[in-house]
Amino acid sequence: MNAIVRRELISILRTWPAAAIQVGTAVVFALLVVAQWPTGAVVDLSGVQAERVFRLFGYGLLTTLLLLVPAVPATSIVREKKQGTLTLLLNSPLTGWGIYSGKLLGVLGFVMLPLLMSLPAAAACYAMGGLALGDVLKLYAVLLLATVQCAAIGLLVSSYANSTDAALRLTYGFMLLVAVILLGPYQILQGKPWPYVADIALWLRGLSPIPAVVELLRQGDVGGQGLSAVAGNVYRYFIMGGAMTGLLAVWTARRLKQTMLDRPRPQGVMTDDRSLGQRSARRLFFLIDPQRRSRAIGRFTNPVLVKEFRSRRFGRSYWMVRLIAGCAIFSLLFSYAATTSSEDWGVETIGGILVVLQVALIVFITPSLAAGMISAEHESGGWTLLRMTPLSAGRIVTGKLLSVLWTLLLVLLATLPGYALMIVIMPKLMQQIIYVLICLVLSCVFSLVLSAMVSSFFRRTAPATITAYTVLAVIYGGTLLVWFGRDAPFGHDTVQRVLTVNTLAAAMHAIKVKGFETYELIPANWWFVGCATVACLGVFAWRVRRLTRPE
């Protein structure tokens, strides 16, 4: 066995989260099947019951894989880089392909365990009747390819990243792009009179495993509109996903050689020392030049707040301007589409998509900014230094929380013009949009405080980030799985109770997205999220206070 496979696999399997994932997967799927196993003498010949369970089962497995798999390969190479063991590996007789395949197989070895643990439940679904063996096997093949694809993305990002949290952030960002955002272009272009463009968008969508899984679970097409829904998503995914995985593998393996670490140290050239022409050009390009000498922190400014912005690559002003401008443009485009194409989609659909994308952005950005609040300080040794300054725990907490909250609120504010346009066109939407905005603000604050609280329990950023992402994904995505099983196997009350924790569902309810309008989620959701936020804030403050006190 490749030495790297052995080391990677065993080191992962020794961790408690690995054990928890395996046991958790087995228990959840077993309970799902037990709940639906026929108890009476009546047999469901149509197989509808088995199909419903299998649907939940398939979506559950896909969600679990998309959430958990990227974390392991994303930290795999960068961790070795930070520990200095990558140099040893690159100087060993192992080739780039040897290292790459070792790491990939290590990840696959770990991921195969929850997949294998789900097999008895899949067999039980099959035994209940109504399912074709070919579909079950195809689902597993798609899931396996999705796993390899996630691992390939994670390993490539890891080979470029310089810190574990940056690697995690980027990997999850790419996963969001590949799995979800790439569904967007075809959603907009389908049925339009530009055949080639729509075809390209369709094949681009083939990079995401979601349409393939949806088709295998016999739910038609993702966002399919009436008769225009297309088939063949499974084969398209095998071709596109497989090609992408192969390309990324070649790319990463070719990078894994000694020259990979051969980089000069930046000399710290400042714009202030450049010529007038260069200074002007940079001002034009960046608006706020990142290489300009910073001014001293103001007398009455919280230094932690400024430090947080400065030490974050995307916290620098020029990145903030880009992010906010991007959000504003995107929001306006969507609103424009809502008003001009309302016959095709309806405002609820556009509003729903906008809300989903905004919450996805919040869930994506927040842990990456907040989960390192305390853990990154521990990891870098900065916490010891912070404790030696006269800064109080309250000032540290305030500075750190505000640095993320400002970013999130600015991103949210940037989307306001889009909503304003919607209100101008349809004034009756005013109240709905106010409700949606309340939900979004609550999402921001809750995600922030929860990630900060998680951060205070860890001494390393990577596990803190993974935990924060997982918890938020369970709250925002996991609860939607129950909604997928509405009416059967879950009743209306159960779904409503579960959705009460999900602000995304509350926002969708507010904007009357199809499937959410029947549940009464507001103000119950606001109460729940408000109380949860206060509780998390209390725990966070208590943890920081403890950490700043002498041991």
């Binding site: 710290g268 000498r293 001293a296 400065r310 230094l385 041991e551």
Partner: protein
């Protein structure tokens, strides 16, 4: 340079973590303006001592004061009195050295105008001015150590506690660090320095504290400790003929009553031994050997260094 008033005092400090005693009845007193080296094997309790002194850990019993302020109760005052450089640098990504120092200066509430001047001053003192625009994470280890010292100096503390400042430095950088520490002592700062590089400490320290198993085994100037530890001196005969090693060893055994550890080396053509006898007594031995026809190339005393002293003490401690 010593200002004679007690700057730092530890009284019967004990720190326990469950069943483990990290510090055991530790008492120490340091005068202002002194450089004190704290040495001990790994796990001896050096870091625990430092953490108590800087207010990051509370002693289980006993007390520690710096300039009259209790290290546990007067935590805020201690932060202003002490500049602490831990063994980990504590870098922040994407920050330039100037911004990094600006942050710590602002955290100590130094007003912006004064802070800018102070940053320039400490960077000049530590020879790191040229690094001001560089990114912190791109600095070499030696550069980081200088920036770390600059950071500890920002709020002009009276006491500097430096954990392994010379660790990982190349010989050139080590000399520069030594000169920097001497310069700081001349400025009137009291320095507490831990290091594993004992020759470095022996060159700069006024006093040395040796710790093993959480206990203070020896404390004083280097000469005092050596006199205490090495009551016997070590001598060496350099011979021109290796065949005479046995004869010389026998003569030493017969002539020097308290001779111990008589060791001959054929490869080096030397015979070493330890004795507490005076130079006059030993001149008789030398005369006897020469009259016996032994061809002595050189007869000299081997001086002890801090490393030998440390090994002697830690050996006792371990035993």
């Amino acid at each position: 340079m010593t200002d004679n008033s007690v700057m730092l005092e530890a009284r019967q400090l004990t720190k326990r973590y469950g069943d483990i005693t990290a510090l055991d009845d530790f008492t120490l007193s340091v005068d202002g303006g002194n450089i004190v080296g704290v040495i001990g094997p790994n796990g001896a309790g050096k870091t625990t001592l430092i953490r108590i002194l800087v207010g990051q850990a509370r002693p289980t019993s006993g007390s520690a004061t710096i300039d009259g302020c209790d290290c546990s109760r007067d935590a805020q005052k201690i932060k202003h009195l002490v500049g602490y450089m831990p063994d980990v640098f504590g870098s922040y990504d994407n920050m330039r050295v100037g911004e990094y120092l600006d942050f710590f200066g602002a955290a100590f509430k130094i007003p912006p105008v004064k802070r800018r001047a102070r940053i320039d001053e400490v960077m000049e003192t530590t020879g790191s001015t040229y690094m001001k625009d560089r990114f912190v994470e791109s600095l070499s280890h030696g550069m980081k150590q200088r920036v770390a010292v600059a950071r500890t100096l920002l709020h002009d503390p009276s006491v500097l506690i430096l954990d392994e400042p010379a660790n990982g430095l190349d010989p050139h950088a080590r000399i520069e660090m030594r000169e920097l520490l001497l310069r700081l002592a001349k400025m009137g700062k009291t320095l507490i320095v831990t290091s594993h590089i004992l020759p470095e400490l022996s060159r700069i320290c006024d006093q040395v504290a040796i710790i093993t198993s959480g206990r203070l085994r020896a404390f004083g100037s280097l000469d005092e400790i050596m006199r205490m530890v090495h009551q016997q001196r070590m001598f060496e005969f350099q011979l021109t003929n290796a065949d005479q090693i046995n004869a010389v060893s026998q003569t030493i055994g017969q002539q020097v009553d308290d001779a111990t550890e008589i060791v001959g080396s054929a490869a080096e053509q030397t015979v070493r031994f330890r004795t507490g006898q005076s130079d006059q007594d030993l001149s008789v031995l030398l005369a006897k050997l020469i009259s016996d026809g032994v061809q002595v190339g050189q007869f000299r005393e081997i001086p002890f260094d801090l490393e030998d002293t440390f090994l002697s003490i830690t050996g006792k401690g371990a035993g």
